[in-house]
């Protein structure tokens, strides 16, 4: 209690200096947390992706499609429980800035494979009965104010023209990590339109989604699928949904690395600031520490006082910073709309923030502490604060 009082009062001695240092730590901790959350959001698609679902795509590239006829052949492969298919639509809603994923899906089967997309049964029924129907994620609906019955126009890029869809359902995520920012509609609608406007693109599919009888079948089923279509016009590449998603993220790896580096740099800078604060503080009080030594206080006590003070300052900064991270991340997540599938502050991020604060305190206290421990008492007593 006595020591704690002394530590806290010491920390409060230069209120401006301590205050500014705390402020710096708050900013650093928030920035660090936010950047980590951005990186997590980046990977969240892959993280939420299933390891027990396979994605089959054209082996050459995702931009090439595969014949619809593959569905039947895949279904016959041992280990396959169900098959569905989807095509990336890539339409523009009003302006290019409003990015969200849009998929033309085989409606009768698709949602059976994605139990994490929770749709009320009557909405699902309405959707299945409406050729132009669409189901949208909750966050997407909230971002753009979509309501059931609304007509939403998308300007096609891959599939030219203006496409009107009627919102028939809104899905929620079964998990916190479920991407609730997607836009689904009927593959059949796109296909029928192609019949008229671009007959050569009829009956083609972007990706097949395969549900397995067991997660342990992933590697042998993907090998069988790819073997089935070897030497055909459209060879396939099958991998788990997670591997498929990570493939996307790896394209932007450099940005992720840059963000990570910046987040470490921020911690490094505040470490230097804090070290400077502690060094100044301790230098001014050398004669006090020397007096304590003269009175018989040992290294343990002095280290306790110095580290304690560093921990009080870093702790205040970290506490405020961590509390601020949540509302700021929420606003940031809202501001970026549906750019990221999910934007949540992970528990791990908070643990990292705490670890950073501890590191900041320890590093800052280390050198001044060493100096106080090794200074000769008579020299310390002579020093003027």
């Amino acid at each position: 209690m006595y020591y704690l009082r002394m530590i806290v009062r010491n920390a409060m001695r230069h209120q401006l200096r301590s205050g500014l240092t705390v402020l710096g730590i708050v900013v650093a901790i928030v920035a660090f947390g936010l950047l980590r959350t951005v990186v997590d959001a980046w990977y969240s698609g892959a993280e939420a992706a299933s390891k027990s679902r396979l994605i089959t795509r054209n082996a050459i590239s995702l931009v090439f499609s595969m014949p619809l006829a593959y569905a039947g052949k895949i279904r016959q492969i041992d280990g396959v429980k169900a098959v569905s298919y989807a095509s990336w639509f890539g339409g523009v809603y009003v302006t290019e800035k409003n990015f969200f994923p849009q998929f033309a899906v085989h409606a009768p089967t698709y949602f059976n494979l994605y139990p994490e997309f929770v749709v009320p049964p009557e909405q699902m029924r309405d959707f299945l009965h409406d050729r132009k129907g669409a189901i949208v994620g909750r966050r997407l609906a909230e971002t753009y104010g979509f309501k059931i019955g609304d007509t939403v126009s998308l300007r096609g890029t891959i599939y030219p023209g203006i496409w009107d869809f009627v919102i028939r359902g809104i899905y929620d995520g079964a998990e916190r990590t479920t991407d609730v920012s997607q836009f689904f509609f009927q593959w059949d609608y796109v296909n029928e339109t192609m019949r008229i406007t671009a007959p050569r693109r009829m009956n083609t599919v972007g990706v097949y989604i395969i549900a397995l009888t067991g997660a342990d079948r992933a590697s042998d089923v993907s090998a069988s699928v790819d073997a089935t279509f070897r030497n055909s016009l459209a060879e396939t590449l099958t991998e788990t949904e997670q591997a498929f998603q990570l493939g996307f993220v790896s394209m932007t790896e450099a940005i992720v690395v840059a963000i990570r580096v910046v987040s470490y740099l921020i911690i490094f800078i505040i470490m230097a600031v804090m070290a400077n604060t502690m060094a100044m503080t301790v230098r001014e009080r050398l004669s006090e520490y020397a007096t304590l030594k003269a009175l018989g206080f040992g290294s343990r006590h002095l280290a306790g006082l110095i580290f304690g003070e560093a921990f009080v300052i870093a702790g205040c900064g970290a506490l405020i910073g961590i509390f601020c991270t949540f509302p700021i991340a929420e606003r940031f997540g809202k501001a970026t709309g549906t750019l990221f599938p999910t934007f949540n502050v992970h528990d791990e991020t908070i643990e990292w923030q705490i670890a950073c604060a501890v590191l900041i305190a320890v590093v800052a206290a280390l050198v001044p502490c060493w100096r106080v421990m090794h200074i000769r008492i008579v020299d310390g007593l002579r020093s003027i604060g």
Partner: protein, 228 residues
């Protein structure tokens, strides 16, 4: 001092030099001195003569280069850093020229500070601190911080801190050097009382002949040697 004076500080052939670069500056050469229990010694001498250096050696906050230094029968030159610190906490009371109180602690807490190294309970500590502050006449200033006290009051708090652990010796380096006449007089009277009423052994460095006059004996130091 009518009892057979028992030697409490025994200094034999003590030497100390400071090194500045490769230059060796001898400060104390061959000091031999006995101080009896209950004595009150004033150390005088010109500036730079090594008074503070000698006092610091006696107080165990500096190490001699040669010679022996035994206090209360303990050869303190043989103690390592940690043992020496523990020894100081039990046997030495410090009174500094600039008081050296902790600015973030109240008068009460400052006096309590040395007791944290003992295993007294909080209640016992409170009792001791109360008595000590009473003794120096500051019972009504316990909650004051050093910045809220006059120089003389601060020095009296420091004296209370110096005697709180009932040390073997009290060392004072120019205890009145920073005080006005009246405050200085108060502090000197207090030190005098500690010596006469409580039987404390006091070693005081001073420039002031008036202060030295209060001591039982005066030793002169010149160019690192004791003259009478």
């Amino acid at each position: 001092m009518d009892q057979a004076a028992q030697t409490i500080v025994a200094i034999r052939n003590l030497a100390k030099a400071y090194r500045r670069g490769d230059q060796v500056v001898p400060v104390l050469t061959d000091i031999t001195l006995d101080i009896a229990a209950g004595d009150y010694v004033a150390l005088m001498g010109p500036s730079g003569s090594g008074k503070s250096t000698l006092l610091n050696l006696i107080a165990g906050i500096d190490k001699p280069d040669a010679g022996s230094l035994s206090i209360g029968g303990i050869d303190i030159t043989a103690l390592d850093e940690a043992d020496l610190a523990a020894w100081r906490s039990r046997h030495v009371g410090f009174i500094f020229q600039f008081y050296n109180l902790m600015p973030v602690l109240t008068a009460f807490e400052n006096v309590e500070l040395p007791l944290l190294l003992t295993d007294l309970s909080a209640a016992q500590r409170r009792q001791h601190v109360g008595d000590a502050l009473e003794m120096v006449g500051l019972a009504d200033r316990v909650e004051h911080y050093p910045s809220e006290l006059s120089g003389g009051q601060q020095q009296r708090v420091a004296i209370a801190r110096a005697i709180i652990t009932d040390p073997t010796i009290l060392v004072a380096d120019e205890p009145t050097g920073d005080l006005d006449r009246v405050s200085a007089e108060e502090v000197l009277n207090l030190i005098d009382r500690l010596n006469r009423e409580l039987g404390k052994t006091v070693i005081m460095v001073t420039h002031d002949p008036h202060a030295a006059a209060k001591a039982r004996s005066i030793r002169h130091l010149d160019k690192g040697e004791l003259t009478q």
